[in-house]
């Protein structure tokens, strides 16, 4: 079992023939992801990486019954691509692109929600169900199959956490990189219940960072609804106020969104919070062996 995606999930790629799209689509195919085609306007009818190319998402969905789209289009065209996917009946859009204007994502997410389409990202590594389906840019080899679910705002910290978990002799069910932009798709609060309901997931790792209050919302949700152990790390304990730390959303405004307040809220909700990111794997092993 897993959440959201598995080996049967039919995936198309928007921005299929571009440099990034091609490189990562090929990696996904090699991993075993069921990529059934891609979309690049004006290249419909061609074949790319052995898969059909379509002019529009609608055509791609009609021809392939794809339910998930992996989006690689440049930042200025992300909102358009997301809305096109929603309009075509895609169920989940995984938006890898970094640097989409916030206003564009505001409209795109509203439309996606209206159409019942879930989104992951933007500015994220994507989602991977270990040894089944990789939709994104993560190095697949570090995600060994196991019983730990992973939710993270950061790409490389996701790899770091998975690597540590695997070194402890454990593994991952599904890992979701939710992205670090001010407006993102699925977040902790929507993903936690999916992991709670997944019979194979026995523990959940959540990695957050400074800025916004998604981790605080998650803490409140965990306290009331989650029975599986949750291990958390919040990045940016040493970040100065008012400075943007790489991710567009990673900024402490005034006194809101600090790592400290998030760590305290999570601890109060019974979450196992680690102070150093080097201790994530160890803590997971400790909690699961109890």
């Amino acid at each position: 079992m897993s959440i959201l995606v598995n080996k049967d999930t039919k995936v198309i790629v928007q921005g299929f023939t571009g440099k990034e799209g091609s490189f990562h689509a090929e990696q996904c195919i090699n991993y075993g992801t069921n990529i059934v085609g891609g979309v690049t306007p004006n290249k419909g009818g061609q074949e790319h990486l052995g898969k059909p190319v379509f002019n529009t998402v609608k055509e791609a969905v009609d021809a392939t019954d794809a339910t998930v789209s992996m989006i690689f289009v440049p930042p200025a065209f992300v909102a358009d691509a997301v809305m096109e996917a929603a309009d075509a009946g895609i169920e989940l859009a995984v938006i890898i692109t970094e640097g989409a204007p916030v206003k564009d994502m505001m409209y795109a997410k509203m439309y996606a929600t209206k159409k019942g389409m879930k989104t992951i990202g933007p500015n994220c590594p994507g989602i991977i169900t270990a040894e089944e389906c990789k939709i994104g840019i993560m190095p697949g080899m570090i995600f060994k199959k196991g019983n730990v679910g992973l939710i993270s705002k950061s790409g490389t910290l996701t790899y770091e956490a998975s690597n540590q978990v695997v070194k402890e002799g454990l593994g991952i069910t599904t890992a979701v990189g939710i992205g670090g932009d001010p407006i993102i798709g699925l977040s902790y609060k929507q993903l936690l219940p999916m992991f709670e309901a997944d019979p194979e997931t026995e523990a959940i790792v959540m990695i957050g960072e400074i800025g916004g209050d998604l981790e605080i919302q998650a803490a409140a949700y965990i306290k009331e609804n989650i029975t599986k152990p949750v291990i958390a790390f919040i990045a940016g304990q040493t970040a100065p106020k008012g400075k943007r730390m790489g991710h567009a959303g990673a900024i402490v405004s005034g006194s809101a969104g600090t790592a400290k307040e998030k760590m305290e809220a999570l601890e109060a909700a019974g979450v196992h919070v680690v102070v150093s990111p080097a201790d994530i794997g160890k803590k997971v092993a400790e909690v699961l062996k109890k």
């Binding site: 190095p139 690597n163 990045a235 040493t238 005034g254 080097a278």
Partner: protein
């Protein structure tokens, strides 16, 4: 990207948001000319820097004669202004804004930001103008009215009514004026991809008019490509030169006060690396994300920028290769040691894609001050020791 008050007010004027008349000046002589052109017998001389709290820091002064305008302008231009937002080193004032005096009856606050929880803009208004709004939010949160506006319907009459009733504006004419003010400000927020717009204070004059006495604006960097008119307002002298240089190479850099330079791929891991160093008893000297497009050139540049800081006693390179391949980083490190004099120990931890090849490259290079680390904990521990001269 942020702009100066005088630039924010230019945008206000384009949209019909009422502001006092003013002219920017870079010399005391220009300041006097500006005051003459504005006319009247009272002027405000305002330092133009990208930071709040200018008044308290002595950067905003009232002049009652042209001589006084000249004197104040000569004092303020060239001064290093220290406010609660500049840090102790302060900021050099290069321009002043000469503004006509205003008849202040009431001071209000009006701002628009993204409400990240609601995922739409929220207009914030308060009767406590002229105060630090963070302080008001902390001490008397009930004095801040928040009205979220769904951008798909835009600013409607009811949004305006919520604002004026919340602020206790009862005069019908004043209500109309305030609603129109807020509506125009909202249009600016949406049209220009604004990240934050703040007017503190927004004043009510004796005759019941509303004027933007101050103006602070920040813009979404990701949307600047479609606003060349805003990009043209960029004042490079207000930006940290190292941060700026880094960004030109696709690196994201923030200077801190510690001793251990960090070079990391990914913003989250970069913050996590700083936290790990702190946890091990060390202090990070910077945040540096080499991003997904790191190559030998950008990595070498990263070293150069880190080493500009004389406090740096060791560098911790922590790379988990996903998009960035570790062998590329390894080559970057080698090239950097040829381009820059790396006079401090460099702790290198490379993991992920092509990590074994990277380890091989580094081993074959045989560079004395490059020390390999096994994992994050080992790397952080070694970096802390190296900075203390114990490695």
């Amino acid at each position: 990207m942020n702009v100066h008050e005088y630039q924010a007010k230019q945008i206000f004027k384009e949209y019909g948001v009422p502001t006092p008349r003013g002219i920017v000046a870079t010399t005391p002589e220009e300041a006097v000319e500006a005051a003459k052109e504005l006319g009247g017998n009272i002027w405000v001389v305002k330092a133009q820097i990208h930071a709040g709290g200018r008044g308290l820091g002595g950067g905003v002064k009232l002049a009652k004669s042209l001589d006084e305008v000249k004197q104040l302008a000569s004092e303020i231009i060239g001064m290093t202004l220290v406010t609660h937002q500049t840090g102790p080193e302060g900021k050099l004032v290069q321009k002043v804004y000469i503004e006509e005096g205003a008849d202040i009856k009431d001071e209000l606050y009006l701002g628009i930001v993204l409400d990240r929880a609601k995922e739409m803009p929220v207009i914030m208004a308060s009767t406590e103008g002229g105060m630090e709004i963070e302080k008001v939010a902390e001490e008397t949160p009930e004095k801040i009215i928040k009205v979220a506006v769904d951008p798909t319907i835009g600013f409607q009459g009811f949004h305006g009514r919520e604002l004026v009733f919340g602020l206790g504006i009862t005069d019908k004419d004043e209500q109309k004026k305030f609603i129109s003010f807020a509506q125009k400000l909202f249009a600016i927020y949406m049209d220009k991809d604004v990240e934050l717009i703040e007017i503190n204070p927004l004043i009510k004059t004796g005759s019941g008019d509303f004027l933007a006495l101050d103006g602070k604006m920040g813009f979404d960097d990701s949307a600047l490509y479609r606003h060349p008119e805003i990009e043209a307002m960029r004042d490079i002298s207000e930006e940290d030169p190292d941060e700026r240089e880094a960004s030109q190479y696709g690196l994201s850099y923030v200077a801190l006060d510690g001793e251990i330079g960090c070079m990391v791929n990914g913003a989250g891991l970069a913050m996590g690396t700083m936290d790990a160093i702190n946890y091990m008893g060390g202090t990070p000297a910077n945040f540096l994300d080499v991003g997904g497009k790191a190559n030998a050139e950008t990595v070498a540049k990263g070293f150069e920028i880190i080493l500009k800081n004389p406090k740096v006693k060791a560098i911790f390179v922590n790379i988990f290769g996903g998009i960035v391949r570790c062998d590329r980083i390894a080559n970057g490190i080698l090239e950097a040691t040829k381009m820059v004099d790396v006079h401090v120990p460099v702790i290198v931890r490379l993991d992920g894609t092509n990590a074994p090849e990277a380890a091989e490259i580094l081993k074959n290079a045989k560079i004395d001050n490059v020390i390999a680390a096994e994992d994050l904990a080992d790397g952080a521990a070694k970096a802390v020791k190296a900075a203390k001269g114990e490695l």
